[in-house]
């Protein structure tokens, strides 16, 4: 295990620290609440000469991701960060980065999308980008945001993967709260992520290549998308092996899902991000009262861990899927759709209820978690039918 320093820091501070330790050649970013302090801290590293990064200040997130794509195609290790409207403004470039197979790593400080305007946490921004071909990690805590960012880089740059990766942390709740974090030493991180060997660098004049070719009607566009799907599948074992190697280094366990009480759970909640703690807290209280409650936290959303979820939820009598994002017109939130689909092939027909919670930073109070688990117990006991989608805590 590597030597570590325990610090009190915000999620954004330790994400900036993870970026510094990964030694990106280029960071092109535009500040947006609640991501701003990541790029501020990083600009500070540049100003103080602590990094050799080419820091590109741009006029928008559209330009930020464009500059990242250009730099990555040139052969650079590239990292950036954004949030909410910024991520939305990057939409077309997100697809270009993944289609060009550029392993850019981006932190995303999860924040609601307008309108009405709101700067607080939900996952609507990231879930809007779920089909953009990026690997997606979600953090519960500042510690996980730090760890995920380092692992994401190692996975993205793996020659069998070569896909961009997003490291998501909850806006304000995780980005701005001071948390206890164990930080690795610089040499350990540098050794862990290694040197980046670009596959097709534009600046490699001995081996000239063209990026951004046309693959139109009758061309191989369809085949390139197939290759992207295979790369996302190839990322699964890499995410696991990188997670194991990182666990060895840090002493912190990693899995694409994290379970609590699932060995005998009869009622279970599936959740992403900072609300996991409240879910676990209530599950722990319920277990003390004899209720077999469990929690499954999803730490990697793309590629989606459907086999792991189906396995974790086997034998459960009622499941709540908590979505901090909407998918208007769908039967439930984005995570609900994934989880219920993951359970389709299970031999038991498990009732699954979609709970939408915490949009725009709406408080996820403990009594809401209690209410959700009480609903599940009623469904598991057969005294209630699984209802339609629930807006948990909305007036």
């Amino acid at each position: 295990m590597a030597e570590q320093k325990t610090v009190a820091a915000t999620g954004n501070t330790v994400v900036a620290e993870a970026m510094r330790q990964c030694k990106p050649d280029v960071v092109a970013a535009y500040p947006i609440t609640p991501q701003t302090t990541i790029v501020e801290e990083y600009a500070g590293f540049v100003a103080k000469g602590r990094v050799h990064t080419e820091y590109v200040t741009v006029e928008s997130e559209h330009s930020a991701m464009s500059a990242c794509i250009g730099a990555s195609a040139a052969g650079a290790r590239v990292m950036t960060a954004t949030a909410s409207q910024g991520l939305a403004l990057m939409w077309e470039e997100l697809h270009i980065a993944s289609g060009m197979r550029l392993p850019i790593v981006m932190a995303n400080a999860n924040r609601a999308l307008s309108a009405p305007i709101n700067i607080h946490c939900d996952h609507g921004d990231a879930m809007g980008a779920r089909d953009a071909g990026w690997i997606m990690y979600f953090a519960e805590s500042a510690q996980e945001a730090y760890d995920n960012t380092i692992m994401a880089l190692k996975v993205a740059e793996d020659p069998s993967v070569l896909l961009p990766a997003m490291s998501c942390l909850d806006g304000f709740i995780t980005t701005h709260s001071i948390d206890r974090v164990d930080v690795l030493d610089d040499e350990s991180v540098a050794g862990f992520v290694g040197e980046y060997e670009p596959a097709n660098a534009l600046l490699d004049t001995d081996d000239p290549v063209s990026h951004g070719a046309f693959a139109g009607l009758g061309g191989p566009f369809f085949e390139f998308k197939r290759a992207q799907r295979e790369a996302m599948e190839a990322a699964r074992p890499v995410i696991t092996s990188v997670g194991e190697a990182y666990s060895q280094l840090s002493g912190r366990p990693f899995d694409v899902i994290e379970t609590f009480g699932m060995e005998d759970a009869e009622v279970a909640a599936v959740v992403i991000g900072s609300a996991s703690g409240n879910a676990r807290h209530i599950a722990r209280q319920l277990r003390a009262q004899g209720v077999k409650a469990g929690v499954v936290k999803v730490r990697v959303f793309r590629p989606f861990p459907y086999a792991e979820l189906a396995e974790a939820l086997r034998g459960v009598k009622a499941v709540a899927v908590l979505d901090r994002a909407e998918s208007f017109g769908a039967e439930g939130g984005p995570l609900f759709l994934e989880v219920r689909s993951a359970l389709y092939d299970a031999s038991d027909r498990i009732p699954v209820v979609s709970y939408i919670y915490g949009l725009g930073g709406s408080d996820v109070r403990l009594e809401l978690m209690e209410r959700m688990f009480a609903d599940l117990s009623d469904i598991a006991a057969g005294s209630a039918q699984p209802g339609k989608l629930v807006y948990l805590g909305a007036r």
């Binding site: 289609g99 097709n200 290549v209 070719a213 085949e223 390139f224 197939r226 290759a227």
Partner: protein, 109 residues
């Protein structure tokens, strides 16, 4: 890098295409025939032409041939000419006419 052999590209499956749609060599744009985009083709009147070569210098697709510092009889590379008409526009003696494709064309001489 060895010459990129795209002879059988029509039969390739997804595993055979280069990563991220890169073209893994330089100088191969002549292999990509783009003349099919053209809606008008340039036709040169050899009697009027003064061989000033302004058309050759101005062609954005390098689709005008020059041999021994002269335009040969077959002076346009119609596999790559996209019919932009710049050659006709810059010609100081109006020796080049843009003729709609699909119409009866005068013999290209």
């Amino acid at each position: 890098m060895a010459k990129w052999d795209i002879e059988t590209i029509g039969e390739w499956d997804w595993r055979q295409f280069p990563l991220g749609a890169v073209i893994p060599e330089s100088g191969n744009s002549r292999d990509y025939v783009t003349g099919g985009w053209r809606s008008e083709r340039p036709v040169r009147d050899k009697e009027t032409c003064t061989q000033c070569l302004l058309c050759w210098i101005s062609c954005p697709d390098s689709a005008i041939y020059v041999e021994d510092e002269q335009l040969p009889d077959e002076s346009f590379n119609l596999a790559h000419c996209k019919g932009c008409g710049i050659c006709a526009n810059v010609c100081p003696v109006e020796a080049i006419t843009m003729v709609p494709e699909g119409c009866d064309l005068p013999e290209v001489k």
